[in-house]
Symmetry: D2
Subunit: 329 residues, 4 copies
């Protein structure tokens, strides 16, 4: 079966997804829509798809699924529209910044009988996925402590930050999902600290740039997350899982494998410093998953509900910072 | 000047200190006391020192300083005795498990005009000291986030655990001191989580074996500590400091530098798994510091007061676990 | 300018080149020829190019350059044909196993005024290219000693081996070119040793599977190459250049960044074990170079003459093995 | 049994050996001789041994063995003297720069029934010994290719170089012994190249500073050695053994475990750059071996004969450089 897909949005990440579809033999990109018709036309020309409107895509019986790559505040409405039109939906995170609305469209997709896959792309990173596999294969026994280090190369501009929902809902949310993925149990309690150390303007909108989080499950397993909005040395993305029988970790990706030894020591390349380069294989991996879950008629590995749960924990982190309390989830 | 030293205690760590003194040209071990006269005699014979009683050492005008290497519950009384006798004192941590008593003997040493150095040996580890130097040299700019990972190879036996004061006062306290060393500012708030995941009997005495801590300074700098009482892969001791201009980390010590590549991947040695082997250079370093602070008549880098402060934070960690509150220090 | 290209051959490496052309905005694949028309048709269909005959491509005025991806024994004739037809030619190594014929077609291409680029892909590997750049930037001063380790995951089958020209002309030749690239001077002398340690049948055809080579330039710089036709741990590809001021090395590529620590040590993934995976970026890089040298009308970084020189050194290696002499080049 | 030892020579390496003896419970240093009586007296005072003459040591029935740590040109005569006096002898390499004289004293020691241990200390390095053990344990199957990289931090001064016997007999000889240790078979052929790239004055005395060697055994196993008399990045000492089932390597020793990540990449410490620091554990290990082979009355792991064989190969290296021939051993 060839899964027929449409892209809603023709921006940067849409282009990444288009490339990932192009190398597949089991899928084809057939249509592209964008608020800017020129953008849709350019991506369509490059890929052999046709430019179309959202309505045309929703009513095209030949289209199996859509990938929603538009601004966050349009996600929920688009998911709702396409779910009601019977299309499977892949959506970049988040479903919505409001829990109730996010839950609502998750329910709508469920009732419509379509798949709603959320783009928690990191679960598809080959290293992180290999770590998860090592854990479920029993290599380190019972999981006890998870450590997630996640630092962006630089802080977002203020216009992005203002619409982002704040660091916990925008950035930490990826790590909260990763913690759930690696703990293998739901967090039951959370404590969080936060400060503005990088970009003072963030204080003015009540946001933070440097945060630390402890999650604890009902059985006592703990996960620690540290986030910063600035790492001069690149895009710092590491995980470590300590268990009864051992430890697994996944280290960073350097720009290349060159090392120079001089009188003052050895020097290696810095980290890859752009999320699309660092996580390129994971973006390809999530597209493979979306295609496969349609052709195999099964649930995707990351669902809209995963987005709702991660959002709920993100909100609890913020509450912990504001109240000085450990928050029960 | 040759600094003349006496050892109070002739056990395992006392022997380590005796070896560290033996290779120095600026110090000599002249006397050894121990509750077991045979132990004192054996160590004396091996080193050319004389076996003596505590009182003989206290009243021997030729002795400049003593190293207290006896059980924890004797520390405060011995510090008091030797301080009043005008001897400089090096003492293994802690001064005392009770803050008031610890503060009291710190004050007594101060009034007696003797140096009271506390054995927070890790500050003298060549790697950790190099990290601190890189920070104070401005290599990474302003410090923002500290991450300390500290895992013992195995849990202590129950008789030790019962007298230890609990994981925060016994084990985490080293990391609390390290956090202060690396943050360069005093922590102002602490949140901690704790569980029993390794050794169920610890529950019976109200202790824990798996803990996570967040410290935050008044300016918003954060430190995260993760501790476990069991690491199958060895004695896991790492630090990382993230700053405005970069990051420094100090990695673990492997048993050797051998690597084997086979069809299923590359294998290296496990970590050194005994604290006296892993930290041998740091034990030597603290002895150098004690000798130097006497011969140069200056304060030691780690004082009794550092012990009091770390103990206060350890108590706050426990309070946070018990109350679910962020505790102000 | 859009450079218009044709593929001669539609096999495995031709497909890799087709993908590399597809992501470029400055080039287009317009035609594919293959001795098996179905193969040409399949690749043409997948890429939007047309299937064509060799003659059609040679006479198509719209085509700027061809990529020769056919069996070795057809290379020289195809280069000659397309050079005479005025097409720029990219050819997989070698030009020909016979020096005189190889030189002849290099001369023909030169006289025809077309570019003849040889597929010494490793020069375009991002790590090796970064090493070369570090050297030419003066980071390690004058180059003194080069060490190249190159081991295949497994020995070729006997039918391939019989047609390959032997290990020096088939496998070592890549390392001989890399040595020239890194030394920055021509080798003047060579000594080589060789044995059959992996695949005994190779003895029957006078070939080897385990060889070591020393190259020395007129100024005394030395390069050492070690080759084996079997490495259980993957495709082992490393370089190191020692100079007056320091050293550069480029390490291997692991399959992923996962590490597992257990009681007996730490384990990482094995090496990538397929040359097309390991060197994928270098294959893309050589296509970029071919396109650029056409659009910029300049010589390619690796020419047919580089192939002739490397072949001459490979022949000298074999002579050294057979005579026990250091051979002057 | 307590093995009673005397040091002949009281210089730098003698002091290292004295420290290694001091921490043993199964041995005691009882006497020290040196051409400079003050040097002997100082070392004796520091260790509790007595200063003595060579004759006094040779005739002291209480002394089991001597450690010869004097200049190279005195080794053979001292070995002969002490062997005839019935003392076991540990001698720094080489026995003598002349094969015939070296063989002669090996024979004398043999006839006298005393042990003659040669200080090829690297065999006792924990990493190299672990590599050898992995090989003999069958971890990598049949050994095929050995790679030894050995570079000194800096060139020797000319007065040392003039007496050293040249780079092959002075420096490469350690690697020739290591190659024998790792190959597990005797080399049968050798090819070598050499040049002066570091210190031009060496040309004047017919010596070299940059050499490469290939050794081949009768079964075709190959070892490659690269040596340089200057490495700005420290004392570069690595081995690698490739076999049928895998590969083992032993990496360098860094000065510490600190790493700094900045915008231009990650930096680690340089290599330990002094042979006595890098190889300190191996010096201790050879002393343990000498004590043990006396107390257990067995042959030492490195004998005078190992010195003779390595010297013979070193001479063959030089002959290969001079004649351009592969030399049969």
């Amino acid at each position: 079966m060839t899964v027929k897909l449409a892209l809603i949005g023709a921006g940067r990440i849409a282009n990444v997804h288009a490339d990932a579809i192009a190398v597949r033999r089991d899928a084809a990109l057939v249509a592209v829509a964008d608020a800017l018709p020129e953008a849709a036309a350019a991506l369509a020309a490059r890929t052999g798809a046709k430019a179309a409107t959202i309505d045309e895509i929703a009513t095209d019986a030949a289209i199996d699924g859509v990938l929603v790559c538009t601004p966050t505040d349009t996600h929920a409405d688009l998911i709702e529209k396409f779910a009601r039109a019977g299309k499977h939906v892949f959506c970049e995170k988040p479903v919505d910044l409001e829990i109730t609305r996010a839950q609502e469209v998750v329910d709508i997709a469920h009732e419509a009988g379509v798949k709603l896959m959320l783009g928690f792309n990191r679960r598809y990173d080959p290293g992180f996925a290999a770590a998860r596999k090592a854990i479920t294969d029993g290599k380190i026994g019972k999981v006890e402590m998870v450590t997630i280090t996640s630092r962006d190369p630089g802080a977002p501009d203020m216009s992005y930050a203002a619409r982002s929902g704040g660091i916990f809902r925008d950035m930490t949310i990826h790590d909260l999902d990763m913690a759930r993925f690696l703990l293998g149990e739901e967090p039951a309690f959370v404590s969080a600290h936060a400060a503005v150390l990088v970009k003072p303007e963030l204080s003015e909108i009540g946001d933070y740039d440097s945060v630390t989080v402890i999650l604890q499950t009902a059985t006592g397993k703990q996960a620690v997350i540290t986030n910063s909005r600035r790492a001069t040395y690149g895009y710092d993305q590491r995980i470590e899982v300590h268990g009864e029988l051992g430890v697994v970790d996944v280290t960073n990706h350097l720009e290349n494998n060159l090392r120079i030894g001089l009188a003052d020591g050895y020097q290696t390349a810095p980290l890859m410093n752009f999320f699309m380069t660092r996580y390129l294989p994971s973006y390809a991996g999530e597209i493979v998953e979306f295609i496969s879950c349609i052709s195999e008629d099964r649930a995707p590995a990351t669902t809209g509900m995963d987005g709702v749960i991660a959002l709920r924990i993100a909100n609890a982190c913020l509450a912990s910072v504001e109240t000085g309390q450990r928050i029960a989830l």
